[in-house]
Structure formats: C-alpha cells, structure tokens
Symmetry: C2
Subunit: 363 residues, 2 copies
C-alpha cells in the first residue's frame, strides 16, 4: 500500500466547484466530501463506536468546551487521549470551544486576550484563550483541531468587525502555540453576513498557512440564500489544495449546496438530535415517527435505505418503541439519520468521481 504523508489532501475529481478527494490523517483516510456525526461529550449520543463504523462514519467531531469542563482534557490525556478514551480509532476533529462559549456559557466576558465564563455545569468561573484552546485540543489529541474564534451574531456589523479582528489575531496565536505534528490545525473564516468582512477574513486566514480552512458563523440565523452566497464567495478565495470545512451545517439540502460550492467537510448534531425527538430524515423530508399513522405501518422508514434500522425494523416497531419510551428508539433513529446524511454525501461524491471519468472518456 502507498504510504501517504499525514494530512495530505488529494483531490481525485471535480465537477464545477465541487471536489471529491481523500484527506489523510494519522488515524485513517477520510473520503471527502464527508459528513461528521457529532460526539459532543466523547460519545455520539446513543451509539457505540462499532455502530458508528457500521453506519459508515469516517470522521467524528467532539466538543472541546464540553470535554474541557467534563471530564477535563488533562484527565483524557492521562488516559491515553480521546481516541482511546471513547473507543474510536478513526479520525476525530475537535472544535475550539469558541462557539460553545458564545452559545452555552453564562456571564461571558470577552477581551482581546480571551474569554472568561461561568461553566454551564457547575457555575465555576473558567477561562479560554487561543493558547488554552490549543493546549486542550493537544491534550485531547484529535487529528484535526480548530483555531479559537469568536462567533458573532451574524447581522451586527460592528460586533462582526471586532470579532473578526479578534478571530484573526487569535488564529495567529493558535498557529504559533501548536506543538504537535500529528494534528492538523484549521483556521476559521468569520465576518457574519457582510461580503467585505468575509473577503477580508478569507484572505487573511488563507495567508496563515493552515492545513485546512473552515467557514464559521453560519447556520446561526442567516437565510439559506445568504449562507449560499457567503460559502460561494469564501470558497472562491480559499486555496484550492486544502480541505474546506463548513461548520455546524448538516441538512441534506445544505450539504448538497455546500458540496456544489466546494466544501469538503460538514458536521452537525441534527441527525442525532432529531432522532431523540422521534424524527426520521429521509431523502424526501422528515417523518415524525410518533405519528399515529405509522402504528400499523409494516414498511421501513425509507424503502430505498439500506441502513441496519431500515433493513430490520418497521415504522410500526419504531413508533411502538417511542410510545413505550424505549431508549432503542433513539439508537435506531440515530443510525438511520446518520446513514441518510452519509448516503447523501457519498452519492454526491460518486457523482463527482463519475462526472470526471465521463469527462476524461469524452476528451
């Protein structure tokens, strides 16, 4: 087998701006475009790593903010790092903690050096800085780690200018702090819904020699059209030869749109969160499996789906589990929902590969 340098990113095929590739990491190669299920607290809710593997996951995300607060990054390091701790031997991405500080923590106080906040778990006062975020992520030991950024409310121009400037300084500090060579650090583009800020941010972040780039501050309240425009604008600026990650985005429609615009990595809590709220994602929309109409329905959630849940269980059974408040409902729906997103993105990848092949043949 060919030995490939860790973090080499191979683009195998293109179709317009869309790319199909492979991103090599120390814990395995990731076929891109890829959807990463989210394991906030070092577990993708209700699923074992074995089930995740069976459902086709090749990359998972875990949250620095949560693991820093509980059980603590130093503890995870002393137990052998996040891969060993959670029993997942494939690639992992950790976010920087930035987004959660701004969305979950109480009483946060931001200054140019970092953020102080009250833990949502025990009320203790905590502090995150770019240096601390990188140190935590080095303790956790994910394959892909993220620069610490400030995620502003998307329509507030003044706040976005300030947050972007901080994000840029913090990105440099993160780059300078990083010590591990078995981790790939991605920079994050901010700038809200403002094209000039997004352009400034994409250009500046691109100049810092990160091994990948993320678009942050989207899917937080802006319209679909705005998201699409910003992604299109930013992917025009980001270097071609490095992976691009659209953070926190994960409806089938958003994935389709993102792939078309040249995004390689997606993550979202949606499939597991919907599963816990009894919703099944299908290629034709969402189904509320609690619906009485399903009580005698012997068909699977989606007849075209080949996931473990659809191969073995009827809608009636899933509805029964939900009605009887059985935990298995969440597991089976999570399997189906994650599989649906992975299947969506895999078929987009196949389409790009196929297109290039056809293009070659007709040349």
């Amino acid at each position: 087998m060919k030995q490939t340098k860790p973090f080499a990113f191979e683009i195998l095929a293109r179709k317009g701006k869309a790319r199909a590739g492979i991103f090599h990491t120390p814990h395995g190669s990731i076929p891109t475009p890829v959807f990463a299920p989210v394991g906030t607290q070092a577990t993708v809710k209700s699923l074992t790593p074995k089930q995740l593997q069976e459902v086709g996951a090749s990359l998972i995300l875990s949250n620095t903010y949560h693991l820093f607060l509980r059980p603590g990054d130093e503890l995870v390091a002393s137990l052998g790092g996040l891969h060993k701790f959670m029993g997942w031997s494939g690639p992992i991405l950790t976010d920087s903690g930035g987004f959660q500080v701004f969305s979950l923590a109480q009483m946060r106080k931001i200054d140019d050096d970092g953020v102080s906040f009250k833990s949502h778990i025990d009320g203790s006062i905590q502090r995150l800085t770019p240096e601390r975020s990188i140190k935590i992520q080095e303790n956790l030991g994910a394959d892909i780690i993220m620069a610490f950024d400030e995620c502003a409310e998307p329509y507030d121009r003044r706040y976005n200018e300030q947050a972007m400037r901080r994000t840029h300084t913090w990105a440099e500090r993160c780059r300078d702090t990083k010590t591990r060579h078995d981790q790939s650090l991605f920079g994050i583009v901010q700038g809200g819904v403002f094209p000039d800020l997004r352009e400034q941010s994409a250009s500046f972040i691109s100049s810092l020699d990160f091994s990948g780039h993320a678009i942050g501050g989207l899917s937080v309240g802006e319209t679909k059209a705005e998201m699409r425009e910003i992604v299109n604008q930013v992917t025009d600026i980001l270097p071609e030869d490095k992976p691009r990650y659209l953070m926190g985005v994960g409806t089938p429609a958003d994935i389709l749109s993102g792939v078309e615009l040249g995004i390689d990595i997606f993550d979202c809590v949606l499939p597991t969160r919907l599963a816990r709220h009894h919703a099944a994602m299908t290629t034709t929309g969402r189904l509320n499996m609690m619906n009485a109409a399903f009580s005698k329905d012997n068909e699977p959630i989606d007849a075209s789906c080949k996931c473990y849940t659809c191969r073995n269980f009827s809608r009636a059974y899933l509805r029964h589990l939900i009605t009887a408040r059985e935990m298995l409902a969440a597991s089976l729906l999570s399997i189906h929902n994650i599989h649906t997103l992975i299947r969506t993105i895999t078929s987009l990848r196949d389409e790009i590969l196929q297109y290039q092949q056809t293009a070659r043949k007709t040349r």
Copy 2:
C-alpha cells in the same frame, strides 16, 4: 446437518443433578443451561438485536402482559409476529402475563375463570384468562410459551393453596386451548414456600404432558435457603427429559445454585436494570460505576471479561458517560452485565460437559 425435531431436548452431559444440553426450537437451538435477557416491551432495553447476538444471547424473553396492552398482540400478529416485529430471529420465550397482572396491574379481581384488572398504562379495564393468555401468546408467536398461573405471596398458606389449585385448573385449560404446533407450552409449578404444596404442584403439573416445566413464585421475597430447598425438591419430581425453567432468577449466585440443582433456563431483568442504575456485575460482585474512585481508572470493568465494553472502554469512560447522563452508559453496561451472566452460565455448561468427558475417559 442433522435435522432435529422442534422442541427436542437433548441432554449431552450430567454432573450430579446438573445437566448440559440443547433445546431445539423452530428459531434455533438453545445450548442449556441458558440465561435469557428480558425484552419486556419487545426490546431488551438499550440494545439492538445485533448487539444481543454479539453478546452471546441465544434466547430472549418478552412479556405478554406488556405487549397485550401495548402495542397489542393482534397488531404484532398482523405485522408478522414478534420475531419479525422486534428484529430478533432467534428463539423467544413469552411469559403468560400472570406474574405482571399480580405485580403491576391495579384493582385486580381474581375469580376461578381469570383476572380483571386496570391497565397500568391507560387505566382501561382488561381481562386475562388462561384461554386469552394462550391466544395472545399464539398471536405473538414466541417459540416457548407459558401457562397462565397465579403467583401468590410466598408465605400466605391459605392464598397459596387457592392459587395453586387455580394454577392447576388453568394449566389444563391452557393445554387444551393451545393450537399452534410451532410453539412449546411450559407448565408452571407454584406452592409458595410450602413443601407439601410444591410437591403436589410439581406432581400435578408433571402429569399434564407439557414439553417443559417452570418453577414460578420464587425470587419474590423468600430467603435464598428457601429458594434452594424448593428448587431442589421440585427438580427431584419434574421429569428428567424435559427442560426446566426457573422464572425471574438471575444473580450469578442464584444461577450457579440453580444449575447445580438441575435447572436449564433462567431469565432476569437484573443485568439491564442494574445497567440503567450504573451498576456493573462482575464475577466478584457489583461495582457502582458512578463512584468517584473510578474517575481516573483506566482499567476495564473486569480485566477477565472479553465483552465489547471491557475490550474497548475504561471505568473512567463509563463513569464519564454516567456523570454526563449519556445514554451510551446504559448500553455499554447492559452489554457487560448480560455478557457476564452468559459467561457464567457458559462456563458452568462447559464444566458439566468436561466432567462427563473426564468421567467417560476414566471408566
């Protein structure tokens, strides 16, 4: 492969009263002695059928009372029966509903014909009779079904006399009602802690030509010594050539004792219930995985255990999942606990097989 008649029971080896055998059912052969995990509501809580298979389960139990009330036995029948409904293709045993009527239902009124009670789910008035219980179990379609019995408080002599008499009449009515040939009907011995009643009951039930026998009314408040004595007495009376089932019993110590006294089948909610309450069963006792002492403990629950949980996760990780209220904690502990009981009983079975082999060689 040898074709064996459904419900043939082969005894392969003996050691004192203990037996190692195989019980053949239409959905597969069960190595005995066997421990059956309980899937009350057509799901062994928090586990997929695939996980159950991987953990070594060869027989599972489901509760007639619960499935009758929700989703309804006729619905299950119309969807193809319980095996298909819950995605478990191996052998299933259903109880008769009797025990739950006496332990869960409200406002029950017993007469010689049957029991009326208020559903614990919606307060509706329901009725179970021996005929109805068999009809429900035929609709569910388990491989092993149970006669409808009355489970009395173990120390009330008068009540036990009356309940035993009813149980006997009901056993005959169940036998006469049964129509399906792909189901094996077991009779149940009652009689509380009273040796003369147990003797009467074991003799009477043995005379009815059931294809297997169960000992009911134990593990409901009597002492361990009393349970042991009754089991010993009853297994002396029950025919040798049919499987014996000790209902609702499932601590490692009770299984050891039961196997020694000639029991072939056990079931218990204990491993999954303990799992949901953070307790791990080990060969040397129970561990409360929430215990702070485990927070930095990088060892598996039980170093001698080969289950998925012990092969992949530390005590510290399990404690983290529990502290973070993650559902995966219950799944991983259920896998470990069920595996521990199956491992206990498998090693007892191996011991019996080994003993007979050695005995043969030295002859």
